[in-house]
Subunit: 164 residues, 2 copies
């Protein structure tokens, strides 16, 4: 039993590290650093990061981009059996996209106390009112994921104050 | 006052008709017939329809596609001041995307008693927990919008029974 938990934790960490790599790509583009990967049969089939600003696309969050890529890869919109790893708790839109795409599990890093819809402000990913519920768990590599975000926003505030 | 209401109604009908045209394009592709347009300064700046199946994209609902197009057109993810017309009540994902993109008004046709998140099952488009609320109203040209959907699903059931 202990080894099963250990192997689950190791898997979570492995995939969250891949999502963190994606988040750093967003940061390099001065985008809010959030990254995501989609896993099917133990393999990463899609990697993506937030590009909302540079792409002029209000929907271009990491999760949405990853889900779109995974759909193309599998040749179907229905991603049942796939798991999503994302560095930050999904927002309302991304939580909805997770339900719509029938993702099996969601594992996220940092909790979002203001707008998180993976259980913190609202629980939309695993909610009985919808026709699909994704098994959801937050706090995977929480410190690393949250630090990336707090450092980013701190730097942005400093820049803003310097610019003024 | 009466003339103001008349002109508002006429405008709603004009843009919903454009959304219905888009819905018919989805139907022609054997997709669930939902269409949407985005209006800025009284002009349609984006038209789109549901292509979830043909595009193998779980996020490719009419609203998401229209919001993406509008962002590209305006050169920014923030669509404040824009209005969205859609033939069916937004689902959880699309309701979230409306909030995320800061759409001013949402006008939809058919109510969705099972999964509608524009006030029927949940109210996510105009909810105080988020940092943006879109003024939301359903039932615009409701009969035409609903008929398109009921006819589509009826035909699909007949086809399924014939195929079996």
């Amino acid at each position: 039993m202990a080894s099963e938990i250990d192997s689950r934790n190791a898997e979570n960490e492995k995939f969250m590290k891949a999502a963190l790599k994606e988040a750093k790509k967003a940061e390099a583009k001065s985008e809010v650093p959030v990254g995501a990967v989609i896993v099917s049969d133990g393999r990463i089939i899609a990697r993506a990061h937030n590009v909302r600003g540079v792409s002029c696309d209000p929907t271009a969050h990491a999760e949405i981009n990853a889900l779109r890529k995974a759909g193309k890869k599998l040749g179907h919109w229905n991603l049942e059996g796939c798991d999503l790893y994302v560095t930050k708790e999904p927002c309302v839109m991304c939580a909805g996209a997770i339900v719509l795409s029938r993702v099996r599990r969601v594992r996220y890093g940092a909790f979002d106390k203001r707008f998180g819809c993976g259980g913190t402000v609202l629980n939309l990913t695993d909610n009985p009112v919808f026709n699909h519920r994704a098994d959801t768990e937050g706090g995977i590599m929480e410190c690393e994921c949250a630090k990336l975000l707090t450092d980013f926003f701190k730097a942005r505030r400093v820049k803003k104050n310097t610019d003024e």
